[in-house]
Amino acid sequence: MISYIIRRLIGAVPTLLIITAVAFFMMRAAPGGPFDGERRVPPEIEANLRAAYDLDKPLWQQFIDVRPGLCAMRFGELTGSRPDADTLAAQGLKGRELRLPPSRPGGPSQTSSFLELRDEKNLVVRCLGGYLGKVLQGDFGPSFKNKDFTVNELIAAGAPVSLTLGLSAITVALFIGMSLGIVAALNQNRSGDYSIMTAAMVGITIPTFVTAPLLTLFLGVYAGLLPVGGWEGGRLENIILPITVLALPQIAIISRLTRGSMIEVMRSNYVRTARAKGLSEFTVVTRHALRSALLPLVSYLGPAIAGLVTGSLVVEQIFQLPGIGRYFINGALNRDYTLVMGVVILYATLVILLNLLADVIYRLLDPKVRYE
């Protein structure tokens, strides 16, 4: 199992690299640039702006830059002198110590934009520059639009909000959806089944941008029970509505999935065997049917959680929550290259990790898969 996880993680590296590259170049291929929307600036100022953000370089160098002596050049730019690589090494400087000055007073100093490749004497022989070089060091760069903030800072502020929302919603949806699905399956083609499945169909078809304002209107405005928006440090009252709105379609999907696989399993030969053993209906369902019936659900959950955590854009917008979804939309509209890239990479990583988690759970539940 451990070796399986390690293999999958190693396999994820090229995937992430490809996603990063594709997103980078597609983003740049889109018409317009980050500074187009602003009021007109004199050409020389725009040129300076572009130079400051490396936008004046050829596109491929913006993405990845492996020219020899790059470290020394960059060091020279920072300090005013231009030592060659040997001098740099002689001073015992390592790449990570090349701190850029803080972008605003009191802010964090930025790391250098290079990933160093060292020889056996631990000396820097070649630097990897460009966007990829930074990302490999965990630095998503400065935001083009949210001045004075790095993308890392923006994500660090927004991700917990989105994660809390998404994970709570899927937990709620799992609990309620599975219970409803099982009840519906055990009452197949009776009134309980029909009413649950009708409700589920409605839940799937009504989009969140309809349920959200409606719930806000009734529970927030008319009844005055819950606040209509805002985060306020994630107070329970504030997150009930957004979580409900996020969970509703998931409850519907999960209950339908559970019902379907449960009905199939309840008809299977081994459930008949379990009954013939004299087991109570409760044990038949919980011990013999449920475990197999959960398998399709597990495969659905990986992508679903990723979708929930990352796909709460609408809900975050309607309830004015400071999650990353907001940044994603605004960043895409404003061509905030670094911000969008940062969010894309985060999403991709999440999707990969959650799918891995789903596969691991699948393996734990189904002994047959362990061998394949």
Binding site: Q188, R267, S268, N269, Y270, R272, T273, A274, R275, A276, K277, G278, L279, S280, E281, H288, R291, S292, L365, D366, P367, K368, Y371, E372
Partner: protein, 609 residues
């Protein structure tokens, strides 16, 4: 005093648009230590009877009348019909007083629990876990003839062989020492040698536990081997009941006679099978309108020279036999019917697929003879392959899965002609009508979809489709094993008529020796990817030379109770182990052996080391 006594049992199933009477007034009595066989075709209600007793009928099934009286200990009796289906009183009886084993042990065992935990669950459920549960599980498994109970207990169902699974199933049923065992087609899904072992096991256990066995089966050979009494069911009613041997030897009821007449029996190939509902095909004289390029009758049409095929074992899988072909040399003769017989995993289907060029051999070559020349399948260009495909056609095992449900029969039958650009559209439809008549179907049904046909009719359509191109060779891969006895008889008779009326060459793959005997001129017995014996059918069944063939023949339950299965010939489960065959048959490791002619046209494989 009987243990189980059923009176006037009526069961109905609710289906869209009405109800089906599955059982219509069944009476039955079963005494301790006795075996009662319930015999009938599918749809006769025999499984509904078993499920009614256990009260595990599907949700749409209902007992509408009658009583099921079971002696529950110390002479007290309960009427099972009056108990609540989900109530505690009934649950205490299920598993403890009456237990059931099923036809498909693979799907009837939980896929996600170990065998051991499934058996131990019975102990804790019925309050018998006083001692060491794991020890009790191992004890009962070894009693079932499992040599390594620890490993089996910690395995999942899919890791075991068919025989081991059924043994585990029986262990689970018997660990609480029930008085009644209901066995619903317990050996139908098993190979013939495994079936013989399971039957022997059931007999032994019955003696030891004074067990009453209610055996549901359609196999009269099984009935003859272990039943004391027989009750023949047809459409939910009892047709005949009495001591097993009396009924088999001297059936009184016409239905019983017909049922016995429908079953192929080895050594009775000259007697035409009596299909219960015969539908006679009229073979059109011009079935072969195509120019015939086949070699003269008796000359080789397809030859396999030292053919081998290996399949990579899945990584990390526990020792699974790869169904490989290991050095097979064989000449298929024009106009003959070659039967290929073997147990599951012996490679018989792989061999058929190699002949069709659906698989490429790793070693050796396959030659197709026509127009006086011979061409290796592997050297054929696209044009030659097209011609070859029209000359060799396949009939599949599963008549439900092998017909496109969205194509009418007309489309199914004319598509091959269309692909090969034969005839004009009206001629093709005319040909389709001929084909329908040839397989005994109404040509007015051409516009219907497969859904409208029964399993037997679908198999006829499958045969008609294969005949559409007027092939020279017809490969039939288990064409009757998914069919009921009487339908099987219809199809076998149809194939026999086809064989007699045409110059077709048949390759007939089956695990059922009696079926092979009914149709085949020559038989190749396969084991572990090798042909171990190849002989004219009559010689093979009268004078088998190879130990594996002998074991196969010995394992077939005969209708004659006096000729019990010879368990010494089964070699304690070692029958299919080539290393355990005595000299000169011993094959060690990958030894391909060589076929030696021991009698005229009669070959057996000898080891070469």
């Amino acid at each position: 005093m009987s243990l189980l006594s059923i009176r006037g049992l009526k069961v109905e199933f609710a289906v869209p648009g009405g109800t089906i009477k599955a059982l219509d007034g069944i009476d039955l009595d079963l005494a301790p230590g006795q075996t009662l066989a319930i015999v009938g075709e599918s749809g006769s209600g025999k499984s509904a009877l078993a499920q009614s007793i256990m009260r595990i009928l599907p949700a749409n099934g209902r007992i509408v009348a009658g009583g099921i009286s079971l002696e529950v200990g110390q002479g007290r009796r309960r009427d099972l019909v009056r108990l609540n289906e989900k109530g505690a009183a009934l649950r205490r009886l299920r598993g403890a007083r009456m237990a059931m084993i099923f036809q498909e042990p693979m799907t009837s065992l939980s896929p996600v629990h170990t065998i051991g935990s499934q058996i131990a669950e019975m102990l804790s459920l019925h309050g018998l876990n006083g001692g060491d549960a794991a020890h009790s599980v191992h004890t009962i498994l070894s009693k079932m003839g499992i040599s390594d109970p620890e490993r089996v207990a910690s395995s999942y169902a899919f890791e075991l062989s068919g025989g081991q699974r059924q043994r585990a199933m029986i262990a689970m049923a018997l660990i609480c020492k029930p008085a009644l065992l209901i066995a619903d087609e317990p050996t139908t899904a098993l190979d013939v040698t495994t079936q013989a072992e399971i039957l022997a096991l059931l007999k032994d256990l019955q003696r030891e536990f004074n067990l009453a066995i209610l055996l549901i089966t359609h196999d009269l050979g099984v009935v003859a081997q272990i039943a004391d009494e027989v009750q023949v069911l047809y459409e939910g009613r009892t047709m005949e009941r009495g001591p097993a041997q009396d009924i088999l030897d001297d059936p009184r009821h016409p239905y019983t006679k017909a049922l016995i007449g429908a079953i192929p029996v080895i050594g009775r190939r000259s007697t035409r099978l009596h299909a219960l509902r015969e539908t006679k095909g009229s073979l059109p004289p011009a079935l072969h309108s195509r120019a015939n390029h086949a070699p003269p009758r008796g000359a080789p049409i397809l030859t396999l020279e030292n053919v081998s095929k290996r399949f990579a074992l899945r990584h990390g899988t526990p020792a699974h036999e790869s169904a490989a072909i290991n050095g097979v040399t064989l000449a298929l003769r024009t106009g003959e019917c070659l039967g290929i017989v073997g147990e599951s995993g012996s490679g018989k289907s792989t061999l058929a697929r190699l002949m069709l060029r659906a698989l490429e051999p790793d070693q050796g070559r396959i030659l197709f003879h026509r127009d006086g020349g011979a061409m290796p399948l592997s050297a054929m260009d696209r044009h030659a392959i097209r011609a070859f495909r029209a000359s060799i056609q396949l009939v599949f095992q599963d008549p439900y899965g092998s017909l496109d449900p969205r194509m009418t029969v007309r489309d199914t039958l004319t598509e091959p002609l269309d692909i090969h650009g034969i005839a004009t559209r009206p001629e093709r439809i005319e040909r389709a009508r001929h084909l329908m008549r040839a397989v005994g179907l109404d040509e007015r049904a051409l516009g219907r979809y497969p859904l409208a046909f029964s399993g037997g009719q679908r198999q006829r359509i499958g045969i008609a489709r294969a005949l559409a191109l007027s092939p020279e060779i017809l490969v039939l891969d288990e064409p009757v094993s998914a069919l009921d006895v009487s339908v099987q008889a219809q199809i076998l008779n149809l194939l026999r008529d086809l064989k007699d009326a045409s110059n077709l060459t048949f390759v007939f793959v089956s695990h059922n020796l009696a079926v092979i005997d009914y149709l085949a001129d020559r038989v190749a017995v396969m084991c572990r990817g090798r042909i171990v014996e190849l002989a004219p059918a009559e010689a093979l069944f009268k004078d088998a030379r190879h130990p594996y063939t002998k074991a196969l023949l010995a394992a077939i339950p005969s209708l004659d109770k006096a000729s019990r299965i010879d368990f010494s010939a089964l070699r304690g489960g070692n029958a299919s182990d080539p290393a355990a065959w005595e000299a000169p048959f011993t094959l060690l490791g990958d030894d391909q052996g060589r076929l030696v002619e021991v009698d005229q046209d009669h070959f057996t494989a000898y080891g070469t080391s």
